[in-house]
């Protein structure tokens, strides 16, 4: 079969659902992005941040108010959904109730007039991958919710030639055990067939384990695109810091005291960021609880805290302490002895991120 997978370019796309309003509210603020052929992407963000709108724009269900979509440099903005060769899986299973499982899986191929042999071969392959082989002749409406979602997923994967498979929180209704296996299956499918997969989720673990590239969105804005590691270590905004990681990043109000130093209350913290050019001296200092270390005694870059809580998570301990009215969380190894009362925490300068106006300096 002809290889039709494509590079997808979103160029200056923006969208509003009330374009006639004198002051339209944008579900998606202008952005440009490229989805490379054969990669796995996760779009991560809280509910209502524009993730689904973005998918619907790519699949053609929504026409963007502005901007252009290109598949392999060919504009498709005006192309109808059925002509775009995109597969999309919704959050809740959508199945054709009146058809059997086999007919459900074969439907996208039949609509595109594939040969009978080809349809049979593809349906068999997909139903094997998704463990649906034994149900092929049952009416689809008789299946359980997670099996129905597998059918939805199967309809997305049954076409080898799709430009991309877009998935909108597809595993919400599937139980955790199967979820894990399916995510691995999707990864394998991606590696085997080089199908571009785009996966929308609000669950960071899902995004981190699934995707090579993560797109973090907030309020119609793309805040950061990057590898899981970048998002974790160098969040571009305080939002990403809060949103990614558990617990969220420690973020403190602080003031710039020199080119490489900030002050939290009265404690001076060195960072590797260059703060010389900042106009606004009020900044925020962010550090992951994973990077904060226990220090034996006071030295440079340590803060003195009053321990308020120790939680044992099995594989680590989470210390919560207070410095004045600031709350600091730190993850430490479980074996480490925790002194009572006051203790010193060390902030490694290379791990300290400084945010001016919520953006990374």
């Amino acid at each position: 079969m002809e290889e039709q997978m494509a590079k997808i370019d979103l160029s200056n796309i923006s969208h509003t659902y009330n374009p006639l309003d004198p002051k339209p509210t944008y579900a998606l603020n202008p952005f440009s992005m490229t989805w490379e052929n054969g990669k796995r992407y996760a779009i991560l963000g809280p509910s209502g941040c524009g993730k689904t709108t973005m998918l619907n724009i790519v699949s053609g269900l929504v026409r963007p108010s502005k901007g252009e979509i290109l598949f392999d440099e060919t504009p498709v903005t005006d192309l109808k959904t059925e002509d775009r060769n995109i597969a999309q899986v919704f959050q809740f299973p959508v199945i054709y109730n009146t058809m059997t499982v086999y007919d459900n899986l074969a439907f996208p191929l039949r609509c595109r007039e594939f040969t009978k042999e080809k349809i049979e071969e593809r349906v068999k392959a997909v139903s094997d991958t998704l463990n649906l082989s034994s149900f092929l002749n049952s009416p689809a409406r008789k299946l359980t919710a997670d099996q129905k979602q597998l059918i939805s997923l199967g309809r997305g994967l049954v076409r080898e030639d799709v430009a991309a498979v877009l998935m909108d929180e597809p595993l919400t209704v599937i139980d955790p055990d199967l979820k894990f296996r399916l995510r691995r299956n999707l990864k394998e499918i991606n590696e085997q067939y080089k199908t571009t997969l785009v996966y929308v989720t609000h669950d960071q673990n899902e995004a981190m384990t699934f995707a090579e590239n993560i797109i973090v969105m907030d309020q119609g804005e793309i805040v950061q695109v990057g590898l899981p590691k970048d998002l974790f270590e160098k969040p571009k905004t305080t939002f990403v810091g809060y949103f990614i990681g558990s617990p969220a990043m420690n973020i403190f109000h602080s003031t710039v005291s020199s080119d490489h130093e900030v002050k939290i209350n009265d404690t001076t913290i060195k960072t590797n960021s260059n703060l010389g050019n900042l106009k606004d001296k009020n900044v925020k200092l962010g550090i992951r609880s994973e990077f904060i270390e226990l220090a034996e005694k006071e030295k440079s870059n340590t803060v003195k805290i009053k321990l308020t809580r120790v939680e044992d998570f099995g594989n680590f301990k989470l210390l919560t302490g207070k410095m004045g009215d600031l709350v600091i969380k730190s993850k430490v190894e479980r074996e480490k002895p925790i002194p009572d009362g006051e203790l010193n925490l060390y902030f490694p300068p290379e791990k300290c991120c400084v945010y001016s106006d919520e953006k990374l300096v």
Partner: protein, 282 residues
């Protein structure tokens, strides 16, 4: 407590059954009586209480020349008008309902809900309001006293029912179903008739049932818009009455009049009990 509940349950079911079935039994037994048996003392059991006769039934098929009333032609007229009008109403009504459910219309202050209400408002008005306009309209286009004219009028009466039921039904069919069909490669028309429509069969059946019932039982317009050329069953049945009420033939004609509806009810009941009414999602 539960015994009392069971007792009450069966008591009311029995009461209701008697309430519903008794008139039918009465009609069945009366249809086999003659003048003598109806007007003398109360009788129940054929052959013992009274001598059954087919006279009441024979009158219905005998031509007027031979002293009968011949409801055969009105019967088929009614079937034709009801079925044709219902079919057209369902087809047009379903298309209208799909559009009203899926697309957003704006014309001045008019929105989708207003259009839906406009359809339903045709049924809110008392029929008599429409009688004169319909009469003038049909006489202008020369369809007064004709089957076609009745079909036209009945479409006006039945389509609101179809639109009303189907809008509600389509609103409960998730939009994602259409979208999935588009993504799977259907064009909007294919998405409608290959995916949405098969999922809407229960709704279509309910709408069809209501159209058939309301079309079949209408007396008012059938009476006003026809004279001699064409007659529908309800008008003919009423015309059976005379100075001496022919209870036997009235009962017989009542029974043949409700028969189609009973058959429709049985067919529909089978579909409704299949559990097909649940949506495509979940």
């Amino acid at each position: 407590m539960s015994k009392l509940y069971t007792f009450l349950k069966y008591f009311f079911i029995t009461f209701w059954t008697v309430f519903v079935v008794a008139p039918f039994l009465w009609a069945v037994s009366t249809s086999f009586k003659d003048f003598q048996s109806v007007n003398s003392k109360v009788t129940y059991i054929p052959w013992l209480d009274f001598e059954p006769t087919l006279e009441g039934w024979r009158v219905l098929v005998k031509s007027p020349a031979k002293g009968g009333v011949d409801i055969v032609e009105p019967y088929f007229n009614s079937i034709f008008v009801t079925c044709t009008a219902s079919l057209i109403s369902i087809v047009l009504g379903t298309l209208a309902a799909y559009a009203l459910s899926r697309f957003t219309f704006k014309a001045g202050f008019v929105r989708n809900n207003d259009i839906t209400f406009f359809f339903i408002s045709q049924r809110i008005m008392p029929p008599i309001v429409l009688s004169i306009p319909f009469f003038i309209f049909l006489s202008t286009i020369g369809l007064l006293d004709s089957l076609l004219g009745l079909v036209v009028v009945y479409i006006v009466l039945l389509m609101p029912i179809a639109v009303w039921i189907m809008v509600d039904f389509f609103n409960r069919v998730p939009k994602e179903l259409d979208e999935t069909a588009l993504i799977d490669g259907c064009n909007p028309y294919q998405a409608f008739y290959k995916v949405v429509l098969p999922n809407s069969i229960p709704g279509l059946i309910v709408a069809g049932m209501f159209c058939i019932i309301f079309g079949w039982i209408d007396f008012f317009f059938a009476f006003i818009l026809t004279f001699t050329e064409v007659q529908l069953l309800p008008v003919k049945v009423v015309a059976l009455n005379s100075s001496i009420t022919p209870w036997w033939s009235l009962s017989a004609s009542a029974l043949v009049s409700v028969a189609p509806l009973i058959i429709v009810a049985f067919i529909v009941e089978r579909y409704l009990s299949k559990g097909n009414l649940s949506g495509a999602l979940k």
